[in-house]
Symmetry: C2
Subunit: 429 residues, 2 copies
């Protein structure tokens, strides 16, 4: 029923395991130059509950950069067999090193993750992700082989050939990024096939943040079940948290990681179920343990138990980056909250824009929203009603009532490249 | 001294091992639909020496195509964990399937191959090859990890970033295709570094056929030792044969393969040391054994023992494809023989063209050769002397004396894409 019995381990026993592994991790981390210095006065015996992790200092991306390349390694370089690095030729990159044991641990976590959403040894997985320094490609690849699936390393691009491979080899599981999935569905039709005639049944679409709406669209257009996942190279790569078949949050593997959710401003834990920054600690990585890593990713723990019986807590889909946070009237607001709220309304069109303005006394938020043509009618009352509903929905999400302005299709300028969704027009002192 | 003691095994014992494994391979192959039919009347006990492999029928690329996708598999599909396939969306592709055990065997052969040319656990390997369905990428990757090298899966492209990674992580081994290597050396200089200041010492350049001259140029311009290798996806991928530090032919791993060299016209073995088509039989592949595969690649066994002490025979670099063979006055000639001969002469420039003409009675070969400007002097006697030397050198290589025509630089039209080196102007009946 589970890939590994640890997935349904009793919470008390799981937390005991976490404490034991956290203590070992602290001991082990002290073998690295970085933590040897930083943890000088830390005694592993002070850890008595998983929450005691909060007694340890944070590790930030800047720490990883300043320690580049070897400052966090607990073993001689020759013990490592893999390196992944953040892309880019400017600035100091971040590099993550793996021993053979770390690769095995990671492959097991990946295999467990894919099993969790219904993949089995008898499945055929096609990996349409690029390989290379990006952990998504090799991460899925090793996990898929570990689970025993027939693994087709198709790589990125060449959709026509991908479709042929899927049909020839009866591919049942597709690893595909959300933005490619919709294009893919269209290409399948152009090649003369219907998505429902394709052999696939599962899409792993976790590599990019996306909304629940986007998932629904992918599932409908591809005639597939799409599962979300979470990972980052600092924590190995994919396989940190994965959805089970209930598609209601991602089980975060708590035997391998301690997760905290904190207020990114104060560093304090948020209340149960509230959104904040995810902070991660590795519990099973021998070569490069990282403790209380500030991921900058925003999510929340989903309260309650999952029907699947797994006891590892679930995190919600990532709702943005801590760096994108706006503060308005003392409230933390993330653009993704607004996007999710808007996109859940059938009347809302393709584009929107958030403007932060100041009236000299207090700050205000104005949200310009494109409305689909069929809803942009001449009935003033209907439009005002829609406007109010949008404002109300937004308020219930972000706890601030914005001014809402309805716009016609294509009236908000489309940004080149990454969409600019927030314009801050407040006076800066 | 060796990665695996089998590399220096006594020949008699090695051949015994081959016989034993060939018998097992025949038994195993009969579990596949294709060989069950083809080997109906084959009795493994008829195999008493490795040369008895010649009692078995050939397997051709057309066989693999007609059996696509599953005709050669000896196990249920769910036992397989990897698929590689030839590229292309037109025509029937060739697919190769691997069990986990096959991947392990392949990784071991790759690790042994890299050890053979001087790679060690303490090395850092950067893989600049694309990953995906092409076996070169994942083949080198798995072998490198198996050997325990720190493996950087850089993938293809982005030379600037590749150079940064090489410098940041003190990369000592580079997997690079020959045609990219020369460009790479140039980019290193453009970035303000000298190749001799780069940390690298070994280049694995086997993925593309290339001449001894090309290797010498790479070694000089990159300030590196470059090693050739041989492999093809039908025989796993890279790791079939690899050069040792003596750079004098590639040891073909005879505990894993039986190699024959035959006349591609008659199918009979060629004389010791003669060039012919390489025919390969897998001895350790459980999921998809292939017996007497016609590779269409042309090479020869290099006679004599290698100084390194490895007893596995060496094959020469691939001198062309059986399909490129010309027959002139009853002699088999391959364009690569002519290219190698020409490019070894310092006077010869960039381009040449082979014309096959008929004078009504017999066929003739005319070779047009561009001469470097500094040798294209007005001294008629010097030019005639050069012309004679070229003709003589060619004759000693191909056993036919061609007519040689000296041309000025850039006077032979350059082909777009793949160079056209042979023009057949003979009357066709
Ligand atoms: Zn669940
Ligand atoms: Zn040797």
């Amino acid at each position: 029923m589970y890939y590994d019995p640890v997935e349904a381990m009793d919470r008390a026993a799981l937390e005991e395991l976490q404490v034991e592994r956290l203590r070992e991790t602290i001991e082990n981390a002290k073998r690295s130059p970085f933590y040897a210095e930083r943890f000088k006065s830390i005694d592993p015996n002070d850890i008595r509950t998983p929450a005691d992790v909060a007694k340890l200092p944070f590790t930030t991306k800047d720490d990883l950069r300043s320690q580049y390349p070897h400052g966090l390694l607990t073993k001689p370089l020759e013990e490592f067999v893999r390196l992944h690095a953040s892309s880019g030729t400017t600035g100091t990159p971040v590099a993550v090193f793996y021993t053979q044991k770390d690769l095995d641990t990671w492959a097991d976590l990946m295999a467990r993750s894919m099993y969790c959403c219904g993949c089995r040894k008898t499945d055929v997985l096609q990996n349409t992700s690029g390989y290379g320094l990006f952990t998504g490609g090799l991460g899925i690849h090793y996990g898929s082989e570990r689970l025993g699936m027939l693994t087709i390393p198709a790589g990125a691009g060449n959709t026509k050939r991908q479709i042929k491979l899927i049909r020839d080899h009866q591919v049942t599981v597709l690893h595909i990024i959300p933005s490619f999935a919709l294009y893919f569905a269209q290409k399948v039709r152009e090649e003369g096939f219907e998505p429902e005639d394709m052999p696939w049944r599962i899409a792993l679409i976790g590599a990019e943040p996306h909304t629940e709406e986007a998932r629904a669209k992918i599932e409908k257009l591809m005639h597939i079940k799409a599962y979300n996942s979470y990972g980052l190279s600092e924590m190995n790569g994919p396989g940190v948290a994965f959805e089970c078949v209930h598609q209601n949050g991602m089980h975060l593997w708590e035997d391998a990681y301690i997760a905290e959710i904190i207020n990114p401003e104060t560093g304090e834990p948020v209340a149960e179920g509230e959104v904040g920054e995810l902070v991660m600690t590795t519990l099973t990585r021998e070569g490069m343990p990282i403790i209380r890593y500030r991921t900058r990713d925003l999510t929340r723990f989903i309260p309650g138990k999952c029907e699947c019986g797994r006891t590892h807590r679930r995190i919600d889909r990532i709702t943005g980056r801590a760096d994108d946070m706006m503060i308005l009237k003392g409230v933390n607001i993330y653009p993704m909250q607004i996007e999710q709220c808007l996109m859940a309304m059938p009347e809302v069109g393709q584009n929107y824009l958030i403007e932060l303005v100041s009236d000299g006394i207090s700050d205000q938020m104005k949200v310009k929203v494109e409305i689909k043509d069929e809803f942009f009618v001449e009935d003033m009352r209907a439009l005002q009603g829609l406007q109010k509903r949008i404002a109300k929905n937004l308020c219930s999400e972000i706890l601030v009532t914005p001014r809402v302005e309805l716009c016609q299709s294509d009236s908000i300028p489309k940004a080149e490249g990454k969409a600019v969704r927030v314009v801050d027009l407040r006076d800066k002192e």
